[in-house]
Amino acid sequence: MNPISAHTTPAAARVLRCTNLHRYLGQGEGRVHVLKGVSFEAQRGHVYAIVGPSGCGKSTLLYLLGLLDQPDDGQIEINGRVMSNSDDFARTAARGEHIGFVFQFHFLMLEFSALENVMMPMRKLGRLTPDAMQARAHSLLESVGLGNKTHRLGTQLSGGEQQRVAIARALANQPAILLADEPTGNLDVKNSGLVFDLLTRLAKEQGQAVILVTHNPEIAQRCDHTRPMRDGLFV
């Protein structure tokens, strides 16, 4: 476990950088200053854990880094391109091309089979032929140990299996960055270990930067870098 500085990453390996991010949530008297000037960098092949108590701003930071949300102030760069001020179209395109998400509650599309769920981001990006998409989806599901359940609907899979499908889906377009919000938070100990190992192994193999938010200290300890947060700031 190595705490890293925001200024030590070589530019060539850096896939993500944010500086002085501020984010307010709520309105009127309920308005809260959630992120108070956060800076962070990530490079390919490294796994980062963001830890901290509930409400400290971990998930909010993750959604900002994943371009699902917009900061009130500060800057986000993805692969050297400033995205924090870009329009919805550019941010959506960047999400599809450079970012994969794994959420805590699996978030599979339950009317679709495991194979279709994995193919969905590929279909949108449209880089591969339908046959190539199918082959890649099969291969990803094989690598997460679900090669024999490719045609099962989301509802016919266990929680651990759904999360493995979600990992395969996040990797479908070979993103540079994999963001995971408590990916093991809803799983038992055995499945937590399995999912974490899978996530980190595949990311390392494919040279992706993995940034995960977790409450699990064991998981955090196994990451390359840990960044504790408190009250909207890294400590």
């Binding site: 949530l25 699902l68 919805d88 179209f89 959506t92 999400r95 959420f103 949108k124 990006l125």
Partner: protein, 413 residues
Amino acid sequence: MSPNLRIAFRFLTAKKRAMFMSLSCTILGVGLFIVTQATTSGFEQFFTKTILGINGAIRIEDKRQETMRSMAAAGGGDSYFARRDGVKYIEGIEEPQQLMDAVREFPNVRGVSAVVRGNVQVTSAFKTEDAQIFGIKLEDYVRVSDLAEQITNGQLDDFRNSPKGALVGRVLADRLQLAVGDSFAISTRGSSRRVHVAAIFETGYREVDKSNIYVHQAEARSLLKRPTGATFLQISLEDPSRAPFDAARMEQVLDHGVKPWQEREKTWLAVFRALRISTMITVSVFTLIASLAMFNTLAMIVLEKTKDIAILRSMGYERRDITQIFLWQAGIVLAIGAVVGAAFGAGVTWLVGQVPLPINGIFKTDHFIVTWEPSHYVGAILTAVVMVMVASLFPARRAARLEPGDIVRGTAQ
């Protein structure tokens, strides 16, 4: 299949009950639109056909009066004058042949016939009735009416070959207890003629069937003591819907009073128009229900699929993809609803057409009258498309506006 269509199809089929409701409403909306249009316009078209078959598309009656100065110069003065819309008319047609030749020059004219009309009393062995005789030249008259098809007893050829023959309306014949071959007397202005029934006709328009008698024009002229001129010219058109336009031009060129059938029958046409508007209102309610059902289904799917929308947005699906996914759902329901609804409408229209419904008054029928117009189907489908797509836009746009960050944080509204 495009990714958006594939997703739309799955979203929709996952909500079978809601989809079935929207689909049923769309089918009902399209089907009932077709049925109401088919039945309403069925009666109107049948009435129009009956009227055109009796009175033609245009009638020219009465000459426009020249200026008082020109009248005085010509030494005229004892004609009958009528004043309509500020214009004075002299009753009847003075030079029918000349006018007929001029009328034939108009491009839309199919036929023109001069008619001499007069009020008479008709006496059979049984009783006497008031009637109107129409002196016609048969070959001209069958070109401006459906008289040939209206014969129910006897032969038109018997009338053609018999100078003393008459065609008598069905109701009048029944009242006088006349059959084909029977003779009867026609009298007016102190003169009387004896003729025989060559054939009996029935138009379905009761007023006509109880008063009209057709005789040869020479016989009518002799009886009515009218050796020249005509009461009116009856004109048939290739396209009767253009009658007001043609009538206006004829009035301008020929200097006679000219009435199109739409003006002559404006009372009945207004009744049919009111009926059509009332059915349109009913149909609009059905279509509105269909669109509300679609709105409801889509709004429900948007609420239930917010997480799926967040997933799609996180995977790179744009706002317009989300809009498309929801509009595709409406499109799928519309496509199925339009095809099944049109088939349903056609089936019900056919069934309604079999319903026995004896009507005799302004036309005669023994069953419900329907029309088969492609425009009804196009109109029904277009109405459904507009209503359903407008109703779908709001939930589709709402879905597209959802911020993925808000959804995963659980603060989406």
